[in-house]
């Protein structure tokens, strides 16, 4: 397998711009076909939070370029080639991921956490986790039993630490986690959460076969330290991120424990959450 890095030189003469969460991005290409595919990718990534901007030549804070030499696809960011590959499917998946990262890092007055989110009786449960921790699986199981779906990718927190929906389908892994499919909340028999809601529980968990749920409630400071690795704009907007995380930790309990099977655990978790809310009201 060659380790040589392919490069391409091209002149981008076509473009479109869009805005999402206050971040304006330009996408340019030398091919209308690629540009159309990129537009579809943008809409898939941000759904109704995509505002396409028609006027050509407007100022964008981030510029992506997409090109192909007929064999490979090439991705540019702010003039630098950042990736290439033969598979159009993977290429546009990666473009999707790159766009979401840029928006998550620079969104106006928002802090994006890499997390699954559901709403339950007007409050949110946020489940920060890296990939392959079973975040989407647990989120899906919660949605199946009646929780409102907010996101399986990002918890979008505003300056008051209210969580907003991040409108994209659940990305479920299957076939030994080697394949993915997109599933809507409706397909799971659930529904979407639409309104910003307060977070009452942050759950730090991951699947461990045969484990027993043994929750430990973390202090706000220790809890925030656990959330920081999942906080996308931590380096770009440190002060704002810490303020929002502080508000989050003041209103929510931060619980940590490994968990077993997602289906059984989902029911248990909602009962645990109900108890917490009840106790909280009493005290």
């Amino acid at each position: 397998m060659s380790e040589e890095r392919l490069t391409i030189r091209c002149v981008f003469d076509r473009e479109f711009n869009f805005d999402s969460y206050g971040v304006r991005i330009k996408i340019e290409s030398d091919s209308q076909q690629l540009l159309d595919a990129a537009k579809e990718t943008v809409i898939a990534a941000f759904g109704e939070r995509t505002e396409l901007i028609e006027n050509k030549g407007c100022v964008a804070s981030h510029v992506f370029g997409v090109a192909s030499d007929g064999v490979n696809y090439f991705l540019f960011k702010d003039g630098e080639q950042v990736s290439f590959g033969k598979s159009d499917n993977l290429f546009f998946k990666f473009l999707n991921s790159s766009l979401r990262i840029v928006v998550a890092e620079h969104a106006d007055s928002k802090v994006f956490l890499h997390a699954g989110v559901v709403g339950w009786k007007g409050s949110a449960i946020v489940i920060p986790a890296s990939s392959f921790q079973g975040k989407s699986t647990l989120t899906a199981e919660l949605v199946k039993i009646g929780a409102e779906y907010y996101s399986d990718e990002y918890a979008v927190l505003d300056e008051n630490a209210l969580v907003h929906p991040f409108p994209r389908k659940l990305s479920m892994r299957y076939f030994g986690a080697t394949r993915r499919k997109e599933v809507s909340a409706e397909e799971l028999g659930g529904r979407y959460g639409l309104e910003p809601i307060p977070v009452r529980m942050v759950l730090l968990t991951g699947f461990q076969k045969g484990t027993v749920w043994d929750p430990r409630v973390l202090t706000p400071g220790v809890g925030i330290m656990e959330i920081i690795p999942h906080t996308i704009p931590m380096r770009q907007k440190t002060e704002f991120s810490l303020k929002v995380l502080d508000l989050l930790a003041r209103r929510a309990i931060i619980v940590k424990s490994a968990r077993g099977d997602a289906k059984k655990f989902a029911k248990f978790l909602l009962a645990f959450f109900d108890n917490h809310i009840k106790l909280d009201k009493m005290t």
């Binding site: 040589e4 590959g85 998550a104 993915r180 220790v222 925030i224 690795p229 996308i232 380096r235």
Partner: protein, 162 residues
């Protein structure tokens, strides 16, 4: 430059966030986050360049209502030093004992929590925690030209490494 008598808490290049019971300090130079427990935070805030180690011990003692020795303060200073949270480096003076020995000795003589600072480095890039769309090593190995991560930094498990 060493100034063992009058430590000064660092104020530049950091972001401080007070949370209930603890203080979070984010070092903008190193992108390290530190969580100071109540005792460590109290000692750190008392490092004003005017108080000696003994003065700080007395000050903390008056607030905590429990015995606080110089060793107790040195234990905090040692960690503050290690995490670059003082203006000037100060070598901890444990009289030849290890930090572990000092903790054991302090633990038996005081009712207040031993000063503790927990630290971590914030991810170098958001990509460290973000899936890249690759599902296995064949699609996205560290050296495959098909790699979908910038500079071929995929870990082969669906994530881009910094």
């Amino acid at each position: 430059m060493k100034n063992p008598q009058f430590p000064i808490a660092r104020t530049s290049g950091i972001v401080i966030q007070e949370v209930p019971e603890e203080v979070l300090v984010y070092d903008l130079d190193t992108n390290k986050a530190h969580c100071l427990n109540q005792t460590a935070a109290l000692i750190w805030k008392a490092c004003d360049g005017k108080r000696s180690i003994s003065d700080i011990a007395k000050y903390v003692e008056s607030l905590a209502g429990s015995n606080v020795s110089d060793d107790f303060v040195w234990l905090a200073i040692d960690q503050l030093n290690e995490n670059n949270l003082l203006e000037q480096e100060i070598s901890a003076n444990f009289n030849g004992l290890s930090r572990r020995d000092v903790i054991k000795r302090i633990g038996l003589s005081t009712m207040i929590a031993v000063p503790v600072i927990a630290s971590l480095v914030a991810p170098q890039s958001a990509m460290a925690a973000t899936s890249c769309g690759c599902n296995n090593n064949l699609e996205c190995g560290p050296t495959t030209p098909n790699s979908q991560c910038p500079a071929n930094t995929c870990n082969g498990l669906g994530e881009c490494r910094p």
